[in-house]
């Protein structure tokens, strides 16, 4: 990119962010909550919009796409980044459309209807220059940011609707959203939480300690005991890493088992997922879906001899099919898994899906 202090500074930040993302990968999932990542991403994008050089929406979008690709490449498992990029792109489209006067046209989801009505393709424009576009976009992005700020609270606000007194609730691993959710509920009601530790990372322990501090009656169980204990559980409340386009989950390892167990005992499975976790991805056998960390997590290096003959795998994520999920609780309320695709089409523009 061209010289000039602004740009370099910008690129510095981007670089920093990338390296940060790269580091997140190691070991226990992400070091920071995905909410934080989302916020940082958006902030960064805003900065790009503000500082980078662009004359028309088209250019800006290209710019953002480019950066977005790099970011997603840096940590493919962290879909939040990509989602945020898409959101921003969508925003730009809208803003552009608005400033072009003709509203709702571009943000119309590709559909039969469009197939019938629309004449020319929508991409050729975006080239015109609007002086106030920048301001508007940034404005919109700020709104997005504020929305992001609020998500967790919005979700946890609904806690009381879903947790009754003296319920036994099971969760797995550590999700900040769920944590907030439960704590919020705990302020009014007493209930018993069972946390599956979720080996090998054992985020569950962290979760349990922090819950018990709010004196919620908490029990840590090894992953193996999930099924054994499930028969006494009233509700399963879990977080997730990504919500897929078909309403499935890409959640921490072991969740699928948990979901199956819940199904077997027909225990409702509630997923707390903020909107920014929705990703237009589908659960195909795309190899980026799984993520593996060092087998060291499962089998210590000091095992010695046998290591050369053994393959140890340590996947980080599970795919949970939508039919195992009862309910999604997002910051805009509860939805059934079958409704996710709709939200998806509201959030993102189809043309931004692939990137």
């Amino acid at each position: 990119m061209p010289g000039g202090d602004k740009e370099t500074d910008l690129s510095e930040r981007i670089e920093a962010f990338l390296t940060e993302l790269k580091r997140c990968g190691s070991g226990t999932g992400s070091l920071r909550g995905s909410a934080e990542t989302a916020r940082e991403t958006t902030a960064l994008l805003r900065r790009i919009t503000a500082q980078a050089r662009w004359s028309s929406a088209g250019e800006l979008m290209d710019l953002i796409r480019k950066e977005g690709r790099r970011m997603t490449a840096a940590q493919p498992s962290e879909t939040t980044v990509g989602n945020m990029v898409r959101r921003v792109l969508k925003i730009i489209r809208e803003e552009y459309a608005r400033s072009r006067g003709s509203s709702e046209e571009t943000d119309q989801q590709e559909s039969l209807h469009k197939l019938l009505t629309s004449g020319g393709s929508s991409e050729d424009n975006f080239r015109q220059h609007f002086p106030h576009l920048k301001a508007n976009v940034i404005e919109a992005i700020n709104e997005l940011l504020t929305e992001l700020e609020g998500t967790t609270d919005n979700i946890s606000m609904q806690a009381l609707e879903h947790i009754h007194s003296n319920e036994v609730i099971m969760t797995i691993g550590r999700s900040r959203t769920v944590e907030a959710f439960l704590k919020d509920a705990a302020r009014k009601r007493k209930f018993h939480v069972i946390v599956a530790e979720c080996a090998p990372f054992c985020q569950g322990h962290e979760m349990a300690t922090s819950l018990s501090k709010e004196d919620i009656e908490t029990t840590v169980i090894p992953d193996a005991a999930i099924f054994a204990v499930m028969s006494r559980v009233n509700k399963v409340i879990i977080g997730t890493q990504t919500v897929l386009a078909n309403g499935g989950l890409r959640a921490v390892n072991g969740t699928h088992t948990l979901a199956l167990a819940a199904k077997h005992h027909s225990t409702p499975l509630v997923v707390c997922a903020p909107m920014f976790k929705l990703s237009p991805q589908f659960p195909n056998e795309e190899d980026t879906f799984h993520k593996f960390v060092s087998p060291h997590e499962v089998l210590p290096f000091s095992e010695g001899e046998i290591l050369s003959k053994v393959n140890a795998h340590c996947p980080v994520f599970d795919y949970v099919p939508p039919e195992l999920i009862t309910l999604f609780i997002s910051n805009i309320g509860g939805n059934a898994p079958s409704y996710i695709y709709r939200l998806m089409s509201e959030l993102y523009h189809p043309e931004d899906h692939e990137q």
Binding site: E12, K22, R23, E305, A312
Partner: protein
């Protein structure tokens, strides 16, 4: 200036790792091995640039340094420095945005690590503690903790600790523990101070300098479960120290030097043991093998093939079940299956019905049908025809393997070698386009270990510059480097060089078994006395021998033996046993074993007579008698043909009043330990002797 911005930026993040006011962390990276381990491969490409899992090694090293928070790296290269230089300039490390600024320093004068560090000192490049790594270290260890410890130490006692070596915990027998940095470290449990550092390789008996045990620490550990990562945190005076004493060539010299002269210089070396990091140095092809397989198996996460950290375009590969990695543009024939741990470079074409496992294939290779690859390392632009079978071998860039060739374990095809068709290379074959003779003409400017090339020079001038079809097949091109036939020191030396010292990849069990003794804390060095006893015995024998030759007085002998006794701290009991044994075996040593009994006795008796004072000196108490007898017995038990002599010996000793009769009686009467000794007691002569003794006793009583 962008670079500086980067640094500040980095520094902000790195603040966690290093307290403020510290200068940015520096590193010295030596992109040269200063040996010809990987000859002839390194003839065409410096080691640092050899591809490991399709990325050249130096990139791994730099990635490691960067991710661990290094902000300034000095790359020292010498052999093929220009290549390295251009590689680096192309790479992302030299981009302005790189958080880690890389300075490349080249000189053809470097002969060893020593030279480099002296140069570092001369140029005063380093301002504070720095990391010292080789260009072929692959690691994901986060040294920050070690660094802190190091700095802590240096704060506490100024400039005492000069170096912190980083080790990885890995039980012996691990594949990645190559035999030659199979090390044995004696350390101070509390202060993590290295007391003794030696290579356990091929020595069956460990000896530790006594002084390390006298050193104040109450708890020290002797550890054999460590893998040397060849990463060390050095303080500036390391460079100075190198400058001071010129005999330091390698780090080992240095370490040994420091440890030995610890009292004098007052410098110490500490160590840091990491559990969950990974760090290893690709010092030979065995290590190359194991490290790349570790890479494929993701042990070095987050440095894995699919996180394309080196930032080359279009090299991002996908990872799927059973650790199968594919870069874009790979095409696979029908029915060819990649079993597990396979990495295939971009635009590589693989034919039908191939079986590939534990293999790395570079970019733009063409592989035919029905090819079986196992533990093969195939670099770029390699052509492999149909029906080829490759096991644990390396094929460098541009190599070509024709129809129906079989490469057995540990073959190496250096650059552009062509093999085949229809030939089977025996294990450990090394082929190169360079003729073995060339090496000293063009090489001794960069390698200092080329002293033994004289041999290489004058031999086989005959087959000069002509490819031997027996070696490389009809259409083959290349020279055989290691002929397994000729017993040339230089040759198998080379062989050892290229695939580490152990030609069988699986570790020998006895090394691991011998560990167990060394493992736990303050156990004395794996009980040395059996050996000492041996030594002592020889000594005694020598003494007596001399005593015999230049007939020294018995009292002198006694003196000597005593001194020996103290030297080897041997108990009196043992002394006696040994003494007896030695004396009794003396004739054998003189006359050889096959002398007849009569000769034996005839030799022995005078000796006994001669040395009876010596015996008397040691054999005093009743117990001594018993011991003495016991050892006599066992000596004779070993040679059951000599039992006749036993009686004479006893008789003699009795008469010389070395042994008292009741002692003998007691010995005789006491229950025989083994059935053999029981037989011995049945021995005619002995019975007579005993009988005689009894009578003598009675008679003596009768006298009174």
């Amino acid at each position: 200036m962008a670079g500086k911005a980067g640094k500040q930026n980095r520094a902000r993040k790195a603040a966690a790792e290093q307290d403020e006011g510290e200068q940015p962390l520096q590193a010295v990276l030596i992109a040269d091995s200063f040996n010809r381990r990987l000859f002839p491969i390194t003839k065409d490409q410096p080691r640092a640039l050899l591809p490991l899992a399709n990325v050249s090694m130096i990139d791994y090293t730099l990635e490691f340094l960067t991710s661990t928070g290094v902000q300034e790296t000095f790359v020292f290269c010498c052999w093929m420095s220009n290549k390295i230089k251009e590689h680096l300039q192309k790479s992302k490390w030299c981009r302005p945005t790189s958080p880690n600024t890389v300075h490349i320093i080249t000189s053809d004068l470097y002969r060893s690590l020593g030279d480099v560090l002296r140069d570092v000192d001369a140029k005063t490049l380093v301002r504070s503690d720095f990391l010292l790594v080789y260009g072929d270290v692959v690691s994901n260890i986060d040294v920050s903790q070690a660094l802190q410890e190091h700095r802590q130490r240096r704060k506490i006692e100024k400039n005492i600790s000069v170096m912190t070596m980083i080790f990885k915990e890995s039980s012996p027998g691990h594949k990645t523990r190559c035999e030659e940095d199979d090390i044995m470290v004696a350390m101070d449990g509390k202060s993590k101070r290295v007391l003794h550092y030696q290579r356990a390789q091929s020595l069956k008996k460990l000896q530790f300098p006594m002084n390390i045990f006298h050193s104040g620490s109450d708890e020290f550990e002797i550890r054999y479960d460590l893998l040397d990562c060849h990463i060390s945190i050095c303080s500036p005076q390391v460079a100075e120290l190198f400058t001071d004493n010129f005999d330091y060539q390698t780090r080992n010299d240095f370490v040994r030097g420091i440890l030995v002269s610890e009292e004098i210089l007052g410098n110490q070396i500490h160590m840091h043991v990491t559990k969950d990091g990974y760090g290893a140095r690709v010092s030979n092809l065995l290590m190359y093998d194991s490290v790349s397989s570790d890479m494929i198996r993701r042990w070095i996460y987050p440095i894995t093939p699919e996180t394309n950290f080196a930032g080359h375009e279009g090299q991002s590969c996908t990872h799927s079940r059973h650790n199968v990695y594919r870069e874009p543009g790979v095409s696979l024939g029908l029915g060819s299956q990649m079993e597990e741990n396979v990495l295939i470079g971009r635009n590589t074409v693989i034919g039908a019905n191939c079986t590939i496992s534990n293999t790395v294939i570079g970019a733009n290779c063409v592989i035919g049908d029905n090819v079986i690859l196992d533990r093969a390392y195939i670099w770029n632009r390699v052509h492999i025809a149909n029906n080829v079978k490759v096991q644990q071998s390396v094929i460098c860039d541009g190599g070509e393997v024709k129809q129906g060739v079989t490469l057995n374990e540990q073959c190496v095809l250096a650059y552009n070698v062509v093999v085949g068709p229809d030939i089977t290379l025996p294990g450990g074959t090394v082929l190169s386009m360079h003729h073995p003779d060339e090496e000293d003409e063009d090489d001794d400017d960069d390698e200092f270990m080329s002293d033994d090339n004289a041999v290489g020079l004058n031999k086989d001038k005959t087959k000069h510059k002509v490819f031997n079809p027996a070696d490389v097949g009809a259409e083959g091109r290349g020279y055989r480097w290691k002929a397994s036939s000729l017993e040339d020191t230089e040759e198998d030396e080379l062989a050892e060089c290229i695939w580490g010292p152990v030609l069988n990849p699986d570790p020998d069990s006895d090394s691991s078994s011998q560990v167990s003794s060394g493992f736990d804390g303050p156990s004395y060095p794996a009980s040395p006395e059996p050996d000492d006893v041996k030594v002592f015995q020889n000594e005694v024998h020598g003494t007596l021998q001399r005593g015999l030759d230049e007939n020294i007085g018995c009292d002198n002998l006694v003196l000597e033996i005593n001194s020996l006794k103290y030297a080897y701290n041997i108990t009196l009991k043992e002394v006696m046993q040994i003494l007896t044994r030695v004396v009794l075996e003396f004739p054998f040593h003189q006359q050889g074993v096959e002398i007849t009994t009569s000769q034996y006795t005839s030799h022995l008796l005078p000796l006994l007579k001669k040395w009876s004072p010596v015996f008397k000196n040691y054999v005093k108490r009743v117990q001594d008698h018993m011991d003495c007898l016991a050892s006599i017995e066992e000596v004779f038990l070993e040679r059951d043909t000599r039992w006749a002599a036993l009686v004479k010996v006893l008789m003699n000793m009795y008469q010389l009043e070395i042994l008292e009769e009741e002692a003998i009686m007691r010995w005789f009467s006491q229950a025989a330990t083994s059935d053999k000794s029981r037989q011995l007691r049945k021995n005619q002569g002995l019975l007579k002797f005993i009988q005689w003794l009894e009578e003598a006793e009675e008679s003596s009583e009768g006298d009174e």
